[in-house]
């Protein structure tokens, strides 16, 4: 009975499907969906994560075999050629990529997944012919697969381009941006609706034009949507697009009635959504604000101007900057002494460390401090870096044991009993203004309470505000007894610090 109920209305007309395979297929598909879930749950512990990932990839291979068997399409040689080609390119990419490039790698792979779902939607619509034998559900979901797949593709490519520095990291805003976004959205959804009307599909020319229009308009929507997102919101965008690539697959699965595709696609959709939520909470940003392009930067510029005017003009500010630089040079012996006398030290890494490729030096610093008998831990803010958990991977790469990498909630109470905090290339995530400066974009954002420690050593490229655009009170002058500011490239600053450490403490 079940076999007759569960069939694909669009594709069944031409299928080779094994007639008796139905029940077996659904049982095996169910088992594979469960092994995928087991694999994912094994990803929650470092010890089991490698095996969990392996289980997932084996499950995926079996899904492909199961699909080939169920539809009885073993004999199509081109399927193997294309799969092999994709696999080779995939492996090549995975070997070539460097860990700091992980965000754009995920972005681009996401885009490919979206493009594949879009093509699956197009193919299903083409296979539906004049639409007479197909039902509304399959036609509508095919169109939706094109829409979600296409904007995931272009959005991911723009996000990847921004992360890779091919496109400017700053938010690009067109005139009447919101209007264009809405227009592209409505227009692409309109083509989706038209594509689900059999009377329209019966006219081949109309159908072809509509499919092309739907792809282009949805793609435009993705571009308009992603181009407006700026640097600090990038992790959220990547998470969100990750979610959409799963949803696109699930919708394509609905269109061709493939329960495996629906199930796994939905799991990916849920994971992306969850990560997006976590990111938004950690940055104190509302998802809708990011989607609607309420980027933090523009409002902040106005605020900075106000602040500057209030504190008697920009000249004073410039002078203050110079004063602190010379302060830092003199501070050499001071911060070395802090480190010499310290027992507990916490290192806070940020994207500046990654940009400067200073991870090996951070590991050296950790080793030297530990050899001197000091307790060294790391504090990782959830949005440090350009994707969730980015800092952890970068530090794991240079062999920092993962037990030393602590989440914000876990380590925040420890700052009060810490002698020295070393901030390396992080700004917004340690900015105390988040707790006090009402009205600024970071107000209310949970930050690492580095100010609670006895001493703070800050290595930052300059004194400019971070991506959020809010001045950091830690950089104010006159706090030399507590805070040392080392300006410049993180690698150079770390080298200076290591040298000072050896001279004064060795």
């Amino acid at each position: 009975m079940l076999m007759n109920l569960l069939f694909s209305p669009v594709l069944s007309a031409v299928t080779h499907r094994t007639a008796t395979g139905g029940i077996i297929y659904y049982v095996l598909a169910g088992i594979l969906a469960i092994t995928v879930l087991i694999g994912i749950s094994m990803m929650s512990k470092v010890r089991t994560a490698v095996k969990g990932n392996l289980l997932g990839s084996v499950s995926m291979l079996l899904m492909i075999v199961l699909t080939l068997w169920y539809w009885n399409i073993f004999s199509f040689v081109e399927l193997y050629i294309s799969m092999l080609l994709g696999a080779v390119i995939g492996i090549w990419l995975s070997i070539k990529v460097n860990m700091i490039q992980m965000p754009q790698m995920v972005g681009i792979l996401n885009g490919f997944g979206g493009a594949a779902s879009m093509l699956a939607g197009i193919l299903t619509l083409i296979a539906a012919g004049d639409g007479a034998s197909a039902d509304l559900f399959s036609l509508a979901t095919s169109g939706l697969a094109i829409f979600v797949g296409a904007f995931t593709f272009t959005g991911s490519m723009v996000a990847g381009g921004k992360l890779h520095g091919v496109i400017t990291q700053k938010p690009i805003e067109f005139k009447r941006h919101a209007l264009w976004t809405a227009l592209a959205l409505v227009a692409s959804l309109l083509t989706v609706v038209l594509l689900s009307i059999p009377a329209v599909l019966a006219v081949t020319v109309a159908k072809t034009i509509l499919i092309i229009l739907c792809s282009i308009l949805s793609g435009l929507f993705g571009i308009i949507f992603a181009i407006r997102v700026g640097g600090a919101d990038m992790p959220i965008t990547i998470s969100l697009l990750n979610s959409f690539s799963g949803v696109a697959g699930a919708i394509a699965g609905l269109a061709i009635a493939d329960p495996l595709l629906v199930s796994v696609g939905a799991i990916v959709g849920a994971s992306g959504l969850l990560l997006t939520q976590i990111m938004c909470r950690s940055m104190n940003r509302k998802l809708m604000d990011i989607l609607l392009g309420k980027t933090s930067t523009p409002q902040v510029k106005a605020k900075q101007k106000n602040a500057a005017a209030a504190t008697a003009g920009a000249e004073v500010k410039a002078a203050a900057g110079k004063a602190v630089i010379s302060d830092a040079v003199q501070a050499g012996p001071a911060y070395a002494a802090w480190l010499r006398d310290a027992e507990k030290i916490i290192i806070v890494p940020g994207y500046g460390m990654a940009l400067s490729q200073a991870q090996p030096l951070v590991k050296n610093l950790m080793d030297e401090l530990e050899t001197a008998g000091k307790n060294v831990e790391f504090a990782i803010h959830p949005v440090a870096g350009r994707m969730p958990g980015h800092m952890n991977v970068l530090l794991a790469e240079v062999d920092v044991p993962y037990e030393k990498l602590h989440e914000m909630e876990e380590i925040n109470p420890q700052f009060a009993e810490t002698d020295v905090v070393i901030v390396i290339g992080a700004n917004d995530v340690v900015n105390p203004a988040a707790n006090t400066a009402a009205g600024t974009p970071i107000y209310g954002m949970p930050v690492l309470d580095v100010e609670d420690a006895k001493h703070v050593i800050i290595m930052n490229y300059d004194k400019k505000p971070g991506y959020a655009g809010v001045d950091n009170p830690l950089y104010e002058e006159g706090r030399g007894d507590k805070i040392a500011l080392l300006l410049g490239d993180a690698t150079a600053s770390l080298k200076n610090l290591l040298q000072a450490l050896r001279e004064y403490c060795g």
Binding site: H16, I40, W71, S82, G90, N110, A120, G246, G265, P401
Partner: protein, 103 residues
């Protein structure tokens, strides 16, 4: 909308809820590998591409066959690249004990 569609939608909703529950347990330490792993799973759309391409080949539609070929290549890059890079990343995570044992 038939029973079949209803079942598919139930599959969608249940998978989403179960997935959300399981993924919520992953610590932020592993969020980057989780994300690239999930990224690999999103290439599951290759299943749809395979079926659709076979149908296109059967119908003798050359244009569709070419589109299908491209779709499978893209989806496989997503799957294989995703799993391989996740594996590479996860193998970098070392415990304190392991480090000491290794040196």
């Amino acid at each position: 909308m038939g029973l079949e569609h209803l079942i598919l939608i139930v599959v969608f909703v249940v998978s989403m809820l179960v997935g959300y529950k399981i993924i919520d347990r992953v610590p932020s330490l592993l969020h980057t590998p989780l994300m690239s792993g999930m990224n690999a799973y999103s290439g599951v759309t290759v299943l749809g591409c395979l079926t659709a391409t076979a149908v296109a080949a059967d119908m003798g539609n050359t244009g569709s066959r070419i589109l299908g070929f491209i779709a499978i290549v893209l989806a496989m890059i997503n799957v294989v690249g995703g799993f391989a890079v996740t594996d590479r990343m996860l193998r970098m995570f070392h415990s304190e004990d392991n480090n000491k044992g290794g040196k």
